[in-house]
Amino acid sequence: MAHPSADTRLGLLQGTLDLLILRALRDEPRHGWAIGERIEQTSRGALGAHPGSLYPALHRMEHRGWVRAEWRTSELGRRARYYRLTAAGRRQLEAESDSWRRFASAVAGVLEEA
């Protein structure tokens, strides 16, 4: 799979990384690397999570109780830290998705008006 260079990536808006991570974890538990990959895939390479911000965000969310971490063996046979969404995380995902949609539609409305 071809990865876009940093130039074509979009910068993440403040606060959206949490939403992207929660969304990437909605269907199944993933490890940090897979979360980054998932975000890139689903955004068709437009968005990417830098490890420098991804891991601190994951740990922060773990402290807030949105995700829970556990050690499992990865597909390559190596131990990896998998993150799983908790009930609180699911609620947070819904709330953040909702507010993001409203925000995006509001911005779109403003742009079309102009």
């Binding site: 940090g32 420098g52 891991y55 601190p56 402290h63 109780g65």
Partner: protein, 431 residues
Amino acid sequence: MTLWTDVRLRLRVLFHYGRTEQELQEEMAFHEDMAGRAGRQRELTSLELAREQCRDMRGLGWLVEAGRDLRLAVRRLRRSPGFTTLALAVLAIGIGANLALFSLVDAVLLRSLPVPHPQQLVLLGDPGMTGMGSGTEDGAVNAPTYAQYLAIQKDGRCFSGLAAASSFDLTMGVHWGKSQDAAVPIKLVSGNYFAVLGLRPQLGRLFGTAESGDTPARDAVISGGYWRQRFGGRSDAVGKVFSLRNASYTVIGVAPAGFTGTTVGQAPAIYRPLAEINTLLPGRDWLHDPPGITRRYWLLAIGRLRPGTSLAEARAQIAVIFSRSVRAAARWWWRGCAEHWRRWALALPWVLPGVCCSAATWPACGSRFRLRIRSASPPPRCRCWPWAWWRPWFRRCAPAVPIPPACCGRSRPTPPAWARGAGITRSIIKV
């Protein structure tokens, strides 16, 4: 629930630091491995930053850092025993001096006289004065004369009672039958001294009307301390006769325990009536003011303000009574004493701990040590505040070392170019 998760994870870091650290390393190593397989090595450079931020985020922050600082300080101290000895000596002296000072402050500022309602008491005269003043030409004096004391006792309606005591202790030899005490501090007090202070005797009775006036009875009250020392606390002390300068006196009672007079630093053993002074210190008339400006100002008068009387009213009344000869001032008893000591008492406890702290944390801030850290990792945030004090000094002493700006700020500065390279390990930092 969220809070509990947070606390649980942080406690885990605290008690299983090694394990959590290993897990963090393993997680990062896994990412490194995956990035290597995907051929995306450029991502590796930010892993060190991620590691640092994860540590910052999940740790017990200050507690873990403090522990690390402590271990470092111990290592540094062990390495320079001379400095350690010096620092310990400074600390010991500092703590000792503070303790000594506190006991003084406690006596002067915090503890009040062991008498009922000490807040009603005022002192006429300079509490620091001991001895005899002769006044100045402008009429300023630091203690009243006996005649002035009598005048203010007669006309001062602001006081419910006014007592007086000599500002000095007479130290004299006392004969108890055949045995002798060589130097006993004797305080001369007015007949109403104990009554005005509201004290009750431990034994016998205290001074009354018989001990007032110009020709008092030859009675004496002894202090609780002297009673225990001389008579072992026996009740037959009352009625004992002692001789002083060839005159004999009778003990009529024992002052309450814990009462050591009204002057800080003096602890009289025997109380005698005020008018005795002409017998004990013959040669001059202490009780009457001679004409002219030269008088013997030797008393400290203690008044108990009537309830509802303000200090200002009392001052005004006394000023009227003394307007001709004395600029009298009624002062709060302990506040007056405190004036002398306040400057020292308040400055020293603040200065010493500061010096001690600086000395104690100095080894963790050595310049050689900082040089090493800088070559190995991003500049550490300045965690110990004394280092912030010394920073200008470092700057002067080591101009070749660039000190990162905003080092003491809250946010971590972006690592400079030399720290962004891969392969940086924390293990180099160990000193």
